[in-house]
């Protein structure tokens, strides 16, 4: 049983490129620490059981489910959340294309998808549609049918490779 006066644990880590420290009840997950103790509400939750991918963050560049990682295990690690994805006011190309293509409908799963896609494009700047599907298969979206998400990832990848790419006309207006 929890005790409201229980002593908190304390960690230091890198959060979105800046040094951070935080004290929290030691049983808390990284998801809870980010949202409740650091006020970073961009990381969402859909199940808190590792089933939906919504709470994805990057730890040392790798996409992980923050609902399955203890906050204590973030000690000394580099954690990146959706709040750290843009460079200042300049959105990441993935954020631009997700916004421009309607890949974010309700937007609730969007932070998780964006971070998984960021990891993918770091490893593979020119992924095929099948590779994108495989990479995103751990994240559920109930709004889009994933198609606008694939298109947003492909468009961002092309732009990050320096190409002047736009969405195909049929993706915007239909066939």
């Amino acid at each position: 049983m929890s005790n409201p006066t229980k002593q908190k644990s304390h960690i230091q880590f890198a959060l979105n490129g800046e040094p951070a420290e935080v004290a929290f009840a030691p049983h808390k997950t990284l998801l809870e620490v980010l949202r409740e103790d650091l006020g970073l509400m961009g990381t969402k939750h859909g199940c808190e059981l590792g089933e939906c991918g919504t709470c994805t963050v990057l730890v040392n560049g790798r996409a992980i489910l923050s609902c399955l990682m203890l906050g204590l295990d973030a000690e000394g690690q580099a954690v990146k959340t959706i709040e750290g994805m843009a460079e200042g006011a300049q959105l990441h190309p993935l954020q631009e294309t997700f916004a421009d293509t309607g890949a974010a409908q309700c937007g609730y799963c969007t932070p998780g998808f964006l971070l998984v896609a960021e990891e993918l494009l770091k490893k593979d700047p020119n992924p095929s549609r099948d590779v994108i599907k495989e990479a995103l298969s751990g994240n559920l979206c109930r709004c889009t049918g994933y198609i606008k998400i694939y298109e947003a990832v492909e468009l961002a990848a092309a732009r990050m490779r320096g190409e002047e790419a736009e969405l195909p006309r049929e993706s915007v207006y239909g066939l």
């Binding site: 005790n3 509400m41 293509t101 609730y108 559920l140 979206c141 109930r142 198609i147 606008k148 207006y173």
Partner: protein, 817 residues
């Protein structure tokens, strides 16, 4: 030509793929959902829910829980004794149960504590003494067993509602037919599964007024329910719908957790938050009703329908919710795709001890659409007709009234069919009902289905003569425009639609506009995001408000520039003389001129749907200002050794009337196809053990929904056939394109391997069973074999428009003549 159009002028915003106004916030994690709200001194709420499906509550002891340090307040049913419900006819819910619980998950007590852990521990210290009752676990049991009763109201025993309507004489129709087919179908229940779990924060303000933030699709109805249950003046309650992290109909009822956090805040004087666990979201449910169907249809040799008798049996779960409307909807829209000159509908909704069913995307219509479209396919086979061509030949005509008095306006289904038939290469793929001369290899198949959906319900949920949607505009002298509307953005982009339409009329950029929505203190009433009503209704209200503002601007500018009013145009943030475009003023200057002339500039607009021609009892469900149309072809790969169905591609054409933003329309079509695919292949809200009332898997892992690996390729065609009632001709897209997907897949499975799966979802076991039956020389079919025997009330009879009817039911005496 739409009444609300641009009078032939070129469109600058409407029809273009603008970003959504909230897209940047959603891609940077800055959108504030309900669970993201944190207030000083906020308490956390946990709700104790029944672990028994049906039981009397003998005693609730909260003393141990109250003694736990950090617990501030605990409430039970006696603290909230007033019942509520979304429909005036089924006010059967209590925020916390008092005398009995009716399903596993029914709320019993609620704790407010200083943090979520303490609230959780306290919840587990509450002692409830139950006396278990027998359960009602199925439609059949509800019909046969009336002891115990789940509710003390309803049409008979545990039957909540019986409906019986007849338009013309169906027996005459069957007598005229060359072929009469009878089939039974079953569509399993499934749930919305929004990614966001429901959350709410109640705050009883220092000024003695209550504010609720909640992930709700219907803040106006929640507002009404809170006023009733909490016995506060509605004027002292403010409901703010936070952006919904997915709704799909699952956040359309007033919920017990919303009432509970308000009450706890009133008692403690502190803000109180509740966030449901994923398991609790499964218990909230209000999802797709499981529906058993019997369909009897008579046709001529060319497939023309002569009469249809449709019977539906709905498993409603433990409460009314939208169920009466759902029941009518299972019979309402059969007549709006193919001409059905004589139509009889009988529907029954049962109470069972399961989470309550309600509206899910397509509300009550995907189930009968599945039965209808699969039966049409079987009819086409018996008549040796091409199922695409047979459908094409028997479509309802535009600008007509159906046998059940639904007024059809624009009707683009023929164009939809032409597009997908051509795009899919249908004629080169379809077996032509000849398995020996297949065009695709055995195991590969193609199937087709059509559908239609309403663009907003003709009537509000509670009877009134007021508009269904209101929009208010405020123009400030810096040139800013603020749009206020009660509509709720659930991800479909309704906030953006308001900005696009106002920007179009006023000649400014959508991103010049501030949109404030879904706040009962600040925004005029809009009934909510349900029944695919928002684009059509708020769109028309927004046009009216913006045109009124435009009128003030041009009057002031005409006076200043000394040009005739009719010469003035608004575009590119300017008001100018069309004959001499350099003569003009900036939009901001126009507002200054108007404000100088008229005072502060604010306008309103509102929308009420046209009156429906139906006057009979039950005519309230089905009428709509317009109907959208969809047609889909599915291509599948069925593995005969495993029964696994892979949907490779779906071609879908949707009659949108006019796209306000085509990219958002595409997103809604693709999302609808996805959700239909999940329903036809895997999603099922099913129960096990304990007479089948324990949820089988209230978790996202085991409630299977399509991932990227199951989602099919989608080829989308948008058909623009502007509707006179739509803003710029626009119709709905959020729900309709789901409807043809399940039957198209079922028909494709038949084409692929020659077995009929007359039941959704089409799982590998069902396909294998049907294949084995077929191999034994028996009927290669899996599905229900019969329907319960029911004493139906004498149908309410209505003469059809073709028979000279006036839309009213015939006097009862005429029935026995």
């Amino acid at each position: 030509m739409p009444k609300n159009g641009n009078n032939g002028k070129p469109l600058n915003v409407v029809g273009k793929p603008f970003r959504k106004v909230d897209a940047r916030a959603k891609c940077t994690g800055q959108t504030k959902f309900a669970d993201d709200i944190v207030l000083p001194r906020m308490l956390f709420c946990k709700i104790l829910r029944s672990h028994l499906p049906h039981a009397l509550i003998k005693n609730v002891d909260v003393s141990k829980a109250l003694a736990l340090p950090g617990v501030i307040s605990i409430i039970t049913g006696k603290d909230l004794p007033i019942s509520y419900g979304i429909l005036p006819v089924s006010q059967d819910e209590l925020a916390l149960c008092i005398d009995k619980v009716r399903f596993i998950g029914d709320p019993v007590a609620a704790v407010a504590a200083i943090d979520e852990d303490v609230a959780f521990d306290a919840m587990n210290l509450i002692e409830v003494e139950y006396e278990p009752l027998n359960t009602i676990s199925s439609i059949e049991e509800a019909i046969l067993i009336d002891d115990p009763l789940i509710h003390e109201y309803g049409d008979a025993g545990n039957v909540h509602k019986k409906v019986s309507l007849e338009f013309g004489n169906v027996e005459d129709g069957f007598a005229l037919a060359d072929l009469v087919r009878e089939d039974t179908f079953f569509y399993e229940g499934n749930t919305h599964l929004p990614m966001e779990q429901h959350a709410a924060v109640g705050n009883f303000d220092p000024d003695n007024k209550l504010t609720l933030w909640s992930s709700t699709q219907t803040p106006h109805y929640v507002h009404r329910a809170l006023a009733k249950v909490l016995e506060l003046p509605a004027s002292h309650i403010r409901v703010i719908a936070t952006p919904n992290g997915g709704g799909f109909g699952g956040k359309s009822d007033p919920f017990n957790h919303e009432v509970v956090v308000c009450k706890l805040s009133m008692l403690t004087g502190r803000p109180v938050k509740v966030t449901l666990t994923r398991e609790e979201v499964f218990y909230c449910h209000r999802g797709r009703h499981p529906v058993l169907m019997h369909v009897k249809t008579g046709v001529k040799k060319d497939g023309a329908i002569t009469g249809m008798h449709f019977q539906t049996f709905l498993d409603g779960g433990a409460y009314g919710s939208y169920g009466v409307a759902s029941t009518f909807y299972t019979g309402a829209l059969q007549t709006v795709t193919y001409d059905v000159p004589r139509y009889k509908f009988q529907g029954l909704r049962a109470f069972t001890n399961k989470p309550p069913c309600g509206p899910k995307r397509g509300h009550g219509t995907p189930q009968p659409r599945f039965g209808l479209e699969v039966q049409i396919d079987k009819i086409a086979e018996e008549l040796k007709l091409d199922p695409a061509a047979m459908r094409r030949a028997n479509l309802v005509k535009p600008d007509t009234v159906t046998a059940n008095y639904l007024r059809i306006g624009s009707m683009g289904l023929g164009k939809c069919l032409d597009k997908i038939v051509e795009g899919s290469g249908w004629t080169d793929k379809f077996s032509g009902w000849d398995q020996d001369n297949r065009k695709l290899p055995y195991g590969k198949g193609i199937g087709i289905a059509c559908s239609s959906y309403i663009c907003g319900a003709g009537l509000p949920i509670y009877w009134n003569n007021m508009p269904q949607s209101g929009v208010q505009l405020r123009l400030d002298r810096q040139g800013g425009v603020c749009v206020m509307c009660g509509s709720t953005d659930i991800g479909q982009g309704s906030d953006s639609i308001l900005a696009y339409i106002v920007a179009e009329v006023l000649g400014i950029d959508p991103f010049d506009i501030r949109v404030i929505t879904a706040d009962t203190d600040l925004t005029p009433v809009d009934l909510g995001s349900y029944s695919s009503r928002v684009t059509l209704m708020t769109g028309n209200a927004a046009i009216q408000a913006a045109e009124r503002a435009r009128e003030l601007l041009v009057m002031a500018v005409a006076e200043e520039l000394k040009v005739p009013i009719e010469n003035l145009s608004l575009a590119e943030r300017r008001v100018f003389d069309v004959e001499n475009p350099e003569v003009g003023v900036t939009f901001a200057k126009a507002v200054v001129l108007a404000e100088s002339k008229f005072g502060t500039i604010g306008t309103v607009g509102s929308y009420s749907p046209p009156r429906s021609p139906g006057r009979y009892k039950g005519a309230g469900v089905g009428p709509s200002p317009a109907y959208s149309y969809s047609a889909a072809i599915a291509e599948v790969d069925v593995d005969p050794s495993t029964g696994i169905v892979v949907v490779e591609r779906i071609w879908i054409a949707h009659d949108i009337g006019k796209s306000i933003n085509p990219m958002l329309v595409m997103g809604q079509v693709e999302g609808s196809v996805y959700m239909g695919l999940g329903e036809v292949l895997m999603e099922e809200m099913v129960y096990r053990a304990n007479r089948n009332v324990v949820h089988k898997f209230p978790s996202m892992l085991e409630y299977k929904s399509p991932t990227t690996m199951e989602m099919c390729d989608v080829k989308t065609y948008l058909i623009e056939d502007p509707d006179p009632n739509g803003p710029y001709g626009a119709k709905e897209v959020g729900q309709g394109p789901l409807l043809p997907v399940p039957p198209a897949v079922a028909n494709a499975v038949y084409d692929a391997v020659g077995v009929r799966i007359d039941e959704v979802p089409i799982t590998p076991e069902k396909v294998l069973k049907a294949l084995r039956e077929k191999a034994k020389g028996r009927d290669g079919r899996y599905g229900p074999t019969g329907i319960p025997s029911v004493e139906w009330p004498e149908p309410l009879r209505v003469l059809t428009p073709a028979e000279g009817g006036d839309g009213k039911e015939m006097p009862r005496v005429a029935v026995h003549s």
